[in-house]
């Protein structure tokens, strides 16, 4: 007769101890908004403390007016594998944006506003860059309501102390 051994128990809590992630989102195009958000979302579901800092064109991701209308431009983007001349034709950006949204939807990836809400619900922290706000004449009221504050670059460095930092 053989005796079976007790099944192992996954080490859920030990792996995540103290790990921290800071992601700087500096782009305002649809295709460049996603990498940071996907990573942040994955980190949060791994129990990793996660901070997102929106700066320069990344502000478009948290500006109430623009966050739902980010675009993907194929012009000058070699990843489209299309002749550059064609990509400059009128309507091409709208068309490419439409296609990308459809693809994202097809694999059940949410749009930017819903994605940010999901990240915030998962305990992620959203921060806006002070200089970008000043430059674009925007205040807290103009920004997505889950943004916790408009902070300076040094504030960000303080709160991301000990974090792995990723620049997108």
């Amino acid at each position: 007769m053989t005796t079976t051994i007790e099944a192992p128990v996954p080490a859920f809590d030990e792996e995540s101890t103290g790990r921290k992630l800071a992601i700087i989102c500096s782009k305002g195009s649809l295709d460049m908004a996603y990498p940071g958000l996907v990573l942040a979302n994955a980190a949060l579901s791994e129990g990793i403390e996660t901070h997102l800092f929106f700066t320069f064109w990344g502000f478009d991701m948290i500006n109430k007016e623009t966050m739902g209308h980010l675009q993907f431009t194929p012009l000058g983007n070699p990843a489209t594998h299309m002749p550059p001349l064609l990509m400059g034709l009128p309507g091409m950006t709208a068309f490419a944006t439409h296609m990308m949204k459809k693809q994202m939807d097809g694999i059940d990836v949410p749009g930017i506003p819903e994605f940010l809400e999901m990240i915030s619900d998962s305990g992620g922290h959203l921060w806006a860059c002070r200089m970008s706000a000043d430059m674009m004449h925007l205040e807290a009221d103009d920004l997505y309501e889950r943004v916790e504050g408009i902070i300076s670059a040094s504030d960000f460095l303080e709160l991301s102390e000990g974090a792995q930092t990723i620049f997108v």
Binding site: T4, P8, G47, D108
Partner: protein
């Protein structure tokens, strides 16, 4: 990894301890698996477990948190309260399902 024992029952698990045979799971095992990771199951936990078991049966894969929230009706915030830190993996573990494979 093969055959192991959980609470006196012989079941198949992978290297980490996730059960690999859907029909070997039972309510009793869920209680034991939850206790293994220091969780006590409430009615709300059971709602989640029943939803993801049913969804796995229908879709052939473990639902992501977003799906549990949008389709199962249990908000993401609450999932983090019910299964702290790593909700997606913890609920799959207790429900006897593989870890969710999706990125979002």
């Amino acid at each position: 990894m093969g055959l192991s024992s959980i609470a006196g029952h012989e079941v198949h698990v992978d290297q980490e301890g996730f059960m690999t045979v859907y029909d070997e799971w039972s309510d009793e095992l869920a209680q034991k698996l939850a206790a293994n990771i220091d969780l006590e199951l409430t009615e709300r936990h059971w709602e989640v477990l029943r939803f993801i078991r049913r969804d796995f049966e229908q879709q052939g894969e473990t639902p992501t948190l977003r799906r549990v929230s949008n389709t199962g009706g249990i908000p993401i915030k609450e999932l983090f309260d019910l299964f702290p830190k790593k909700p997606a993996k913890k609920m799959a573990y207790i429900a006897g399902l593989p870890k969710p494979a999706g990125c979002v």
